[in-house]
């Protein structure tokens, strides 16, 4: 019951932010005019603005936010560690590396799906590596150290590929791949990301009961009929799908998967299965809000989303590390 109320509240928040995202922009359309253009296609220029520029931006913000929230909640549930987050441990960075390779080698131009698939490959490699290094218990120190190593490597290789590009603009886009932005994305990016993302959502959604069982300990979970190997495989595939698809079109956006589950955990009574749904909605709200903020703070400058999410997320991360140390984990 409490969960239902929370989910209803979060859904309302997402809907309000989605609406606001559609109504904010430099074209200066009145809300009624904007909605008429979006829904009924009134006015050629207005329709183009609403359907081709603002709608994909709002959709991607919600999709990517939900993905990051969900992936964060799932990883934290599996590792039973609140510090696990796709951005921090290098999964997003590795996905960005895959995407950059696909773009610069021309693979993405030859075959559109090569972009999300390459990002997926990067993400799979990173999640698998992290889970292998962190071990079953997911001890904080190993997890964070492995994450630092994977992030640094992926970041360096991304910079290298972009610096080697014959394109004079590519090197300047290192920032985009590391911080993420939704500026000037189009419906084609939505269609590019959606299939893989939907698959990832479906995979991660099945983890709920297994993660709940895992809170009782590994042996208890196994005896309840949850195969840890399968749980882990689903987590790797699901996380890689959602993070890969999102990063391929919007760059690596950090901290969403850390902040959102952390805030919502007390409200769902720390049950991982409930946290998955709540975090998906919370993540969508956070990225929508961040994307609205970048447009309000510096409308002309394409401020990166990761700047805002890190401003909120990094202090929280420090706080979590402090608390983890105090609890002697």
């Amino acid at each position: 019951m409490r969960l239902a109320i929370l989910l209803a509240l979060l859904s309302t928040l997402v809907a309000v932010l989605f609406g606001a995202s559609l109504l904010i922009g430099p074209a200066g359309l009145a809300p009624a005019q904007a909605l008429a253009a979006l829904i009924r296609g009134e006015g050629t220029a207005e329709t183009l603005v609403m359907r081709e520029i603002r709608l994909p931006r709002a959709l991607l913000a919600a999709m990517i936010g939900a993905s990051l929230g969900l992936a964060g909640a799932a990883m934290q549930g599996y590792l039973r560690n609140p510090l696990a987050e796709p951005g921090l441990i290098g999964v997003s960075g590795s996905a960005a590396l895959g995407a950059v390779i696909a773009l610069q080698t021309g693979a993405a131009a030859a075959f559109a799906l090569a972009l999300p698939l390459a990002a997926l490959t990067g993400a799979v490699a990173a999640v698998a590596l992290i889970l292998m290094l962190a071990g079953r218990q997911g001890r904080s120190i190993t997890l964070i150290l492995a994450g630092i190593a994977v992030s640094a490597m992926a970041g360096a290789l991304t910079s290298l590929v972009l610096n080697l590009s014959p394109n004079p603009f590519a090197a300047a886009e290192i920032m985009f791949w590391m911080m993420g932005s939704l500026a000037d994305r189009s419906m084609s990016h939505v269609w590019l990301a959606l299939p893989l993302m939907a698959l990832g959502w479906a995979l991660l959604a099945t983890l709920g009961r297994g993660l709940d069982a895992l809170t009782l300990g590994e042996d208890a979970a196994e005896s309840l009929g949850h195969s840890l190997a399968r749980l882990r495989l689903t987590l790797v595939a699901g996380t890689a799908c959602v993070v890969g698809a999102g990063t391929a079109v919007a760059g690596a956006i950090g901290f969403v998967g850390l902040v959102v589950p952390h805030i919502l955990r007390p409200a769902v009574g720390a049950r991982p299965s409930h946290l998955l749904a709540a975090s998906a909605l919370g993540g969508a709200a956070m990225v929508l809000a961040a994307d609205i903020a970048v447009r309000l703070i510096l409308p002309e400058r394409d401020l990166k989303l990761g700047v805002l999410t890190a401003l909120v997320g990094a202090p929280l991360f420090l706080h979590l590390i402090y608390r983890t140390r105090r609890e002697g984990l």
Partner: protein
């Protein structure tokens, strides 16, 4: 006697000239005596950005780094006012004469720059001839039809040029009204796609594409811009007007041609 000799030596034209910038590369290649210019930048040899790539192939290529320039032992280095300061001061510390050409921001400033390079190279007559040729070419491209179709310059990352830039001057001289002016952009700036769509220009002029891929250029393929392109569009090569040299007349001629097409068909 010694004084006279010194004056004569100072007036002697430089024999080993090295250029550090694409724009001085081009003017120097047009004006220098055979063998006088010994090195130009790698940009001058890149056909994507230089209209004189073929000529540049005949020169030593530099990357505007102080050490390699010093190794060429030049007696004059041509730079521009926006050449990195540390490179210029390093060369001067090494005792090399560096002269800096100002940026031409208007068509009227091009002859002055040609004359300046001509004077530094001791090639005043060649400079005068080039100026005369440029001014005749400019006069020949006087706008015809008084109609002023609205156009937008749409470069990578939604960058555009407004009043105060040479690109704007060339665009308006070719007979177009620049919508960047309506949007209140002075100098260079970004014009969000939403605004371009709402201002509905009759002509969309985009920059060229470079190999590899970039998000900056992806905006030119955005469906909203593609829909706008279905009206009218043109592509202008960066190489032709990145520098204030007589080559900008090619861009002016191209734009004047587009203007004639649009106003003629109406």
């Amino acid at each position: 006697m010694a004084l006279i000799c010194a004056t004569a030596a100072a007036a002697e034209p430089p024999r080993r000239v090295v250029s550090l910038n694409l724009c001085t590369d081009q003017l120097a290649m047009m004006l220098a005596a055979p063998g006088q210019l010994i090195s130009v930048t790698h940009l001058a040899a890149d056909p994507m950005i230089s209209v004189m790539a073929d000529q540049a192939a005949g020169f030593h290529i530099n990357h505007a780094r102080a050490e390699e320039i010093h190794a060429l032992s030049p007696d004059l280095v041509l730079a521009v006012s926006w050449t990195p300061r540390h490179t210029v001061s390093m060369l001067r510390r090494l005792g090399i004469e560096v002269r800096e050409m100002p940026l031409a921001e208007r068509l009227e400033e091009i002859p002055a720059n040609i004359a300046q390079i001509g004077e530094w190279l001791g090639r005043e007559d060649e400079a005068e001839a080039l100026i005369a040729e440029f001014e005749a070419g400019l006069a020949a491209l006087a706008p015809g039809n008084p109609a002023r179709p609205r156009a937008v310059l749409h470069y990578s990352s939604n960058y555009t040029s407004g009043p105060g830039t040479m690109a704007h001057q060339i665009l308006t001289r070719a007979g177009f009204a620049n919508i960047a002016e309506e949007a209140g952009i002075a100098g260079g700036g970004t014009l969000p796609m939403e605004q371009i769509v709402m201002l509905a220009p009759e002509l969309l002029i985009q920059g060229q594409r470079y190999p590899g891929a970039s998000r900056a250029e992806a905006v030119m393929d955005h469906p909203a811009m593609a829909a706008l392109r279905e009206g009218r569009s043109g592509t202008i090569s960066d190489a032709e007007w990145v520098c204030g040299t007589p080559h900008v007349l090619r861009t002016l001629a191209r734009l004047a041609g587009l203007h004639e097409q649009i106003t003629g068909s109406e």
